[in-house]
Amino acid sequence: MLEVDVKNMRQEDIAALIREADGEPLTLKSCMGQRYIGCGMKNVNLTLTGTPGNALGAYLDGGTIRVKGNAQDAVADTMNNGKMYIDGSAGDALGYAMRGGKIFIHGNAGYRAGVHMKAYGDIQPVIVIGGTAGSFLGEYLAGGTIIVLGLNREKEPITGFFCGNGMYSGRIYLRTDEKPVGLSEKLLMRKIDDEEKKSVIAPYIEEFSKEFREDYKKCMDGTFIVIEPNPKNSYKELYAAVS
């Protein structure tokens, strides 16, 4: 496997390295804030150490990116396909407008994870967050699945304020039995049964626990709630047409 120390490398040169590897496994060591790694690429097999910069894997269209550490802001912006495993935490705006592929975060996600993620046909994006998520999780969610496990948390809530505000499709699963603070009245919340747990979220959680060496049973343990849009509460009544 090819390994390169990229600490002092410019982002343009890193991009060239990745293109050269052409899908062969490539490890980029000691990343130091270089942005756009794997941006728009189709066929990557990357392992990163250090701290990769913003917009990691933006528009990613296939392949796998693994980060052994934290990632910064705007990870997987508008991601289309492929997989991303972050064995640490992610910054703000994770998976913005993501349309396909899967993201697994071992630690926490910052503010605005999964904003306006959307699904079309068979293309169903998924984000699994092992720790907690910041405010505005899944805001404007238009499709896909977000799962937050809240592992190893103490007093802090599993998500911040305004969870799922304005979502109109898709689902947010939280491993808790507490209603997120200030949940919008336009959303529905319910506890899921074992059947849904098994058929819908178990495969993703299994993949998560395997990747990050977490105990699967522990990850599945306890109550999960799901947040969905309330179909009865649309925004139509807000408008008065001027004839």
């Binding site: 505005f136 805001e139 305004f162 505000n165 304005g166 807000l238």
Partner: protein, 502 residues
């Protein structure tokens, strides 16, 4: 032979093919325009009596009626308008002061709100979707001390005087019981409660049935002191001292005895059938220090639990006047602009005295800032607020909140026929005739008012969201959010805004 120099202004057109002679128009018209000719079995209309209140049009089940302008034309004269001639005919016939109703319709005085444009965010900071993200329109109005104080443990003491808490920066303007019906007061009170804002009694007292809405009521004290007693003063959330109003600065009020009947008489505490006169000034206020005395006496009488509002008309030296009011102990200054007005007022005063709210507000806000006292008091602007954009512009010019009178009445059905002074309001608003007042269902009225203010609030939130502002405090006095068009240097300077493109 009778000669009528003033031709009727409107013509009632009836589509005889559509008309089914149901006579609803006869019943609905309170001005006696429509009648049924029993012999000929047809409906007639006397257009000379028509005020174009649109009541008959709105209620005609077959859409057979329309009211149009009379096409009859006086010989065109660039110097003398048709209206000028009519006014002279009218005054030479009667010897009277011209009387009309509602705010000034004068076209030659600009509506500055229409020449101000609002900003929006692009790239350098994000706009906000108010339907999905937090967007706060809540505002507290009242006065503030100069500094914070701490207790012996170092905790901040609550040294704030009482404030009014508004869920949206829109209040209902003062309109008195007597000038308008009890049902209108009821509708306003219910709507204010539902909306988390305030309605204002005007100067005619508070009807017994409405004391229960006290938490959302501003009780007014005007020069006539109608219905003012200590229970009244304590009934509301705030007390407003009315010095003047936009439609008739410097002019008192005159409610004819015909309207002082029954509960109006009882509420105002004046004998039935007797005219109710509001003196032009408060005869206990001949100077600014006297205002301080009145403010203080009201605070004393209400145990310092209620903010005191002083309402003035926007006149030429409004900035120093407002400064004087701010230093009088008043908590809130309410400024009513040139175009304000519901109910009757003398035409010449209405159309020639005072200044538009936009410039008055801008100069007051700036002056209070120059004197370092803007944060000590709050400002309510009124007089010409037509829509939510006007509200946003007024706040960006420096208002804490606005109040709406005309727009509220329009929501209740008013068609601005400017006939309030006749007491025959066909929509049951500006009348005390039972047959007419019952036309307005207070519950339905309240619902319409709530809808209107909710809709405006949503629009204000859209406007704020576009600017990337999510709390109304950050819009207040934020004049960079505004740009002018079709304004000269002086106007821009007074408004404190830049020209579009600058």
């Amino acid at each position: 032979m009778r000669c009528n120099l003033i031709p009727s202004r409107f013509k009632v057109i009836r589509d005889n093919e559509a008309c089914v002679s149901c006579r609803i128009c006869v019943r609905e018209c309170s001005y006696g325009v429509h009648s049924y000719d029993e012999e000929k079995k047809t409906l007639k209309a006397d257009s000379t009596k028509c005020v174009d209140c649109q009541r008959c049009v709105s209620y005609c089940p077959t859409g057979a009626l329309s009211i149009v302008l009379n096409k009859n034309t006086f010989r065109p004269n660039a110097e003398w308008s048709c209206d000028s001639l009519k006014e002279i005919y009218r005054q030479s016939e009667s010897g009277g002061v011209l009387l009309s109703s509602m705010g000034s319709p004068v076209k030659s005085i600009p509506r500055y709100f229409d020449r101000i444009l609002l900003n929006a965010s692009q790239v350098t900071n994000p706009s906000i979707d108010p339907l999905r993200e937090p967007m706060e329109t809540k505002v507290f109005i009242g006065s503030r001390p100069e500094r914070i104080e701490r207790d012996e443990r170092g905790r901040i003491k609550d040294n704030l005087p009482p404030h009014l808490e508004l869920d949206t920066p829109i209040l209902f303007s003062a309109m008195s019981y007597g000038a308008i019906s009890l049902n209108v007061h009821k509708a306003l009170a219910m709507a204010a409660k539902e909306l988390g804002t305030y309605w204002n009694t005007g100067e005619g007292g508070l009807h017994e049935d409405l004391y229960k809405y006290g938490d959302n009521t501003i009780v007014q004290v005007a020069s006539g002191r109608f219905g003012v007693h200590s229970r009244y003063l304590s009934a509301g959330a705030a007390v407003e001292i009315k010095i003047g109003q936009g439609a008739k600065p410097g002019i008192g009020g005159h409610l004819t005895g015909a309207k002082i009947i029954g509960d109006v008489s009882r509420t105002r505490m004046v004998p039935s059938g007797m005219d109710a006169i509001s003196p032009a000034p408060h005869h206990d206020i001949y100077s600014i220090e006297d205002l301080r005395q009145l403010v203080s006496s009201i605070k004393e009488a209400t145990g310092y639990l209620k903010p005191v509002i002083v309402k003035v008309a926007a006149v030429h030296n409004i900035a120093p006047i407002a400064s004087g009011i701010a230093r009088s102990g008043a908590d809130i200054i309410s400024i009513d602009g040139f175009r304000g007005g519901t109910g009757a007022s003398p035409v010449r005063i209405r159309d020639n005295v005072g200044i538009p709210i936009e410039v008055a507000l801008a100069s007051v806000d700036q002056r209070l800032r120059e004197e370092h006292i803007r944060d000590r008091v709050s400002i309510i602007a009124s007089g010409g607020i037509h829509n939510s954009a006007d509200v946003a512009k007024a706040i960006a010019l420096g208002a804490d909140a606005v109040s709406i009178g005309t727009a509220a009445l329009i929501a209740l059905g008013c068609h601005l026929c400017a006939s309030c002074h006749t007491g025959k309001c066909s929509w049951g608003i500006a009348t005390q005739e039972e047959e007419l007042t019952k036309r307005l269902d207070p519950e339905k009225g309240a619902e319409r008012l709530v809808n209107l203010v909710h809709a405006w609030t949503r629009e204000i939130q859209e406007i704020m969201g576009g600017m990337g502002i999510n709390s109304i405090e950050a819009l207040r006095g934020n004049r960079l959010a505004l740009r002018g068009v079709d304004l000269n240097e002086k106007e821009l300077q007074v408004l404190g805004i830049r020209y579009a493109g600058e």
